[in-house]
Symmetry: C2
Amino acid sequence: MLKYILLGFLNYCPMTGYDLKSVMERSTLHFWHAYHSQIYTALRKLEEDGLVTSLVQDGEDALNRRVYTISEAGREDFLRWLNAPLTELPPVKENFLVRVFFSGKRSPEDFLNELRFQRQLHQQNLEHYKHIEAEEFSHKVEKFPEAYQEAPFWMMTLRFGIQFEEMYLQWLDGIIATLQAK
Amino acid sequence: MLKYILLGFLNYCPMTGYDLKSVMERSTLHFWHAYHSQIYTALRKLEEDGLVTSLVQDGEDALNRRVYTISEAGREDFLRWLNAPLTELPPVKENFLVRVFFSGKRSPEDFLNELRFQRQLHQQNLEHYKHIEAEEFSHKVEKFPEAYQEAPFWMMTLRFGIQFEEMYLQWLDGIIATLQAK
DNA sequence: CCGCCCATGTAATCAGTTACATGATTTT
DNA sequence: AAAATCATGTAACTGATTACATGGGCGG
């Protein structure tokens, strides 16, 4: 999947691994995360497969910036993937629910404390996403002007993140209220 | 994480890898999935580490049932984990959002079709969870009678699954409605 | 006798995570 | 002068996925 995120961004303009990492932190963090170690190795792999080409920029500064450019084969591969719909849902992994499931073995106070802490974390996430909605997206449109007509799709993913966190908070509040009523 | 799910279930009673696989399919599928290959190797690892012991049952049938039993060290390890709250949220990975993000490159019809298909899949999930809520949980309480007081916690995780799918459907419907209005 | 469920494993590969490692430039 | 950010990589390990591989029991 990371492969297609990288190709998707390189479709807009040539970039370095560092650029891709930072653009992902701003725009895909609410649905996909990758470590820089993963990005650099994935880019090398894409180059081996002929889907991107790279050049070390010899500019005025001595920084070793390796700029990646998508190839025709890369564009085709990306579009082929985009036009082949997913036919099944990936398995869910929700860490915290594992703990909830077995929390009958804990003291109610410890469980309540953990719920409240989770609430804080998700509240922070929600605020972060709302902040992006308000400010970062215009920044991204500036950065990729040729892709401004794609902004509505970026917004859809962000709305998902916001609705997810709102749902999470509601769920947590429901449990907290039930426990406190006892 | 799988490690603690296995220890958590073995805490109720001794079981085989096959049992654990099937109990997970009935009760943790909405927040954790594991392949049988993963479960069998994880159990061997737990035995190596002294957290479980195993015995091949030589019953009347010739089936090679390897029954795992949690050890004292295993119980301690499990409780230590349970009492150490998570302090940060794991990275989100939502496959479908990657596709939405880049769907500006597709025809609106193709995108709509994929949204409708996703809707079906999530509708199925939702119905499945509601079915479990209505029937399966009583079955699980029967199977682990000594754990009946933990049923409310299992219900909490199931409510999460239901609320998640409801949120997903709402989000999809919002997008579908917006696109159709054009 | 065919298909399904019970039952257990290994091997190969791919993806994700943490740690190690280095060095320049820019901002405070 | 120190800290933050820019910039790139490798290595080791852990976890997840797919495929391979085998064989018994049971019901139609």
